[in-house]
């Protein structure tokens, strides 16, 4: 597989602030690669280093195998969709999209054709003459994306392009982006703090925390096999218990024994176990599950498709459960005695 972008031990310091710390990853050609992490973890800084607006303090960035250290932004085969979009307010939609092509001295009739093709791609045909101030948020977003895409970059860099949109529009744009990605096939590096977006769109996700990459993997790997409490919590929230591992089970204080499927040959020792709330069943009676505990519903949040419960278990621990709504036995009320349980394959060990 061809590698389009590679970061080798990249560190970026702004004075004393370490924005990015020893980050390495590879992005394959045609991949949808996401950088996911909370605000301020260094996502934008990484994109800015790839597009050439910041120089790494240490380490190296390669695009298509070429070291980028001495290549200025305007000579890199990348295009960036800015967090603020940065559409030119003094130019209309056509002039914005044509900006890069005009600089490359592409003949006017070809520019016209390519701009039209791009507007068709994002389903805004006939928008050429519009002023930027006459566009809605979602339309601006799409124009910003094609203003970059029209240059046929090796890599398209997107910095939280859906950030300021409302939920409904975001969901539409996610579908739209996936379609655009499928149609153009360009390599995408996508920055977001929204785990939903990252899981839905990406081939690969790098989860970041405070300038470091915590885990890189496919959405399924990241979701199902988080390698740290941080990743487990950041991706969809989870129940984490601390305990001691021994012979296929973890002894947890205030809870008891949890059976687990060892992923690796663990020796005895202190471990964390993560159980995703939606892998836990809740009912008045439960059987045929590897781990079953009794408890009492303390909180119940109705969310339409699902209900989120917080259940206080008899031995003192509290656990959150996401159940379909309404379940086989309806919705449980606060104070109801229930059983909760899950299979041992869903007890994930975090070491």
């Amino acid at each position: 597989m061809k590698i389009d972008v590679e970061l080798k031990n990249v560190t970026k310091k702004f004075g004393d602030v370490v924005a990015v710390s020893d980050v390495s990853f590879q992005v394959e050609k045609g991949q949808f690669f996401s950088l996911l992490g909370p605000s301020g973890c260094g996502k934008t800084t990484i994109l800015r280093m790839i597009s050439g607006f910041e120089k790494p303090t240490e380490g190296e960035i390669l695009i298509e195998g070429e070291p980028m250290a001495d290549v200025p932004p305007f000579k890199r085969p990348t295009n960036l969709v800015f967090q603020s979009l940065a559409l030119f307010p003094h130019l209309n939609v056509y002039e914005n999209i044509a900006f890069g092509l005009k600089i490359k001295k592409i003949p006017e009739n070809e520019i016209k054709a390519r701009v039209k093709e791009m507007l068709d791609l994002v389903r805004l045909p006939g928008y050429e003459k519009r002023k930027i101030s006459q566009l809605s948020g979602g339309e601006k977003q799409r124009i910003a994306i094609v203003r970059a895409l029209v240059n046929k970059p090796t890599v398209l860099l997107l910095d939280e392009p859906l950030g300021p949109l409302d939920l409904k529009l975001r969901e539409e744009m996610i579908v739209e982006l996936k379609r655009i990605k499928r149609e153009v096939g360009t390599t995408f590096i996508y920055v977001t703090h929204d785990q939903g977006e990252a899981l839905t769109m990406s081939d690969k996700i790098a989860v970041m925390k405070a300038g470091k990459i915590m885990q890189i993997g496919s959405p399924i790997e990241i979701y199902e096999q988080p390698n740290s409490e941080f990743v487990a919590n950041f991706i969809g929230g989870t129940n984490v218990f601390k305990g001691r591992y021994e012979n296929g089970a973890v002894e947890v204080d205030n809870l008891g024994k949890i059976t687990v499927t060892p992923e690796c040959q663990l020796s005895k020792g202190s471990v964390l176990v993560s159980i995703k709330p939606e892998k836990i069943f809740i009912g008045r009676k439960l059987n045929a599950l590897d781990n079953i505990f009794a408890g009492e519903v303390k909180e119940a949040y109705y969310q339409g498709r699902v209900v989120t419960y917080r259940v206080l278990l008899e031995n003192g621990s509290s656990i959150s459960v996401v159940a379909p709504s309404p379940g086989m036995e309806g919705i449980f009320g606060i104070g109801e005695k229930v059983k909760i349980g899950w299979n041992k394959k869903d007890s994930k060990l975090i070491t």
Binding site: F82, F88, I103
Partner: protein
């Protein structure tokens, strides 16, 4: 409305009358048959036509236009470069540098004019239009730089970065993105510089050689005979109307671009 704000408006209104009444009289008299009130045969262009018979007066206006235009061009170019540098770079002593740059704004022009003249004379340079232009560039640069620095600071850097990201080099980025976006600021700075140069007498009076700018010409005539007074009202009115027109244009640009 509170009592104190009514008081304030009354005082302010009085001050405005004090400002505009004499000017209004001047404009009226320039269109009047005699050089004093009451109005007689009003309005008449008599003094304006009379003015045309003074080649020195016509030349003075021409010189003023020339000096103000060259000053404006130079001050705006300096202002763009200086404003960009001050907005976009950090260097040791930036605060002190900015302070020094703005000094001419608080230095009385008469002092600047006198010291500049003494200095240039020592250097063997004689007063002339060029020297006036140099003096005017010095006093207008702080204004153009100040106006443009704030425009550059207000300009979203990511727009320039976007241009570079799309393949534009530094110069193309400046020409196609930065400059068009600060154009209203450039216009405001230009008008400001033009008005300052156009109206200056304190500095020019020291630096003028045989070719006098319009305000210097008026000033030197006022020192002479009172019979010149009527055509001076016409000439002053021309200078004033032009400046007011420019100031009005500047406000319009500021409002549109805000």
């Amino acid at each position: 409305m509170t009592k104190s704000s009514i008081m304030f408006i009354v005082v302010l209104g009085f001050l405005l009358i004090l400002t505009f009444f004499p000017i209004a009289i001047l404009l009226l008299l320039s269109l009047n048959e005699t050089s004093t009130l009451p109005l007689r045969n009003f309005p008449t262009l008599k003094w304006y036509i009379e003015l045309l018979r003074f080649p020195a007066a016509i030349n003075a206006v021409k010189y003023s236009l020339m000096v103000a235009s060259v000053t404006t061009g130079a001050a705006v170019i300096f202002g763009i470069c200086g404003g960009y540098a001050l907005a976009r770079t950090n260097f040791a002593g930036k605060k002190i540098f900015t302070g020094l740059l703005l000094m001419p704004m608080v230095t009385p022009y008469i002092i600047m004019g006198f010291s500049l003249m003494s200095f240039l004379l020592k250097m063997g340079v004689n007063p002339s239009l060029i020297v006036i232009i140099i003096g005017h560039i010095l006093i207008t640069i702080p204004y153009t730089t100040l106006v443009l620095t704030s425009r550059f600071i207000a300009l979203d850097i990511s727009l320039e970065e976007a241009a570079m990201d799309l393949g534009a080099g530094k110069f193309t980025t400046f020409r196609k993105v930065t400059l068009p976006l600060i154009m209203p600021g450039v216009a405001v700075a230009a008008i400001l510089a033009f008005i300052i140069s156009w109206e200056d007498v304190a500095l020019a009076v020291f630096l003028a050689g045989t070719e006098q700018t319009a305000p210097v010409y008026i000033y030197s005539l006022l020192m002479k005979l009172p019979k010149f007074v009527p055509i001076l009202t016409a000439m002053s009115s021309i200078i004033l109307s032009f400046a007011i027109g420019l100031a009005f244009l500047m406000r319009m640009i500021e409002r549109i671009s805000a």
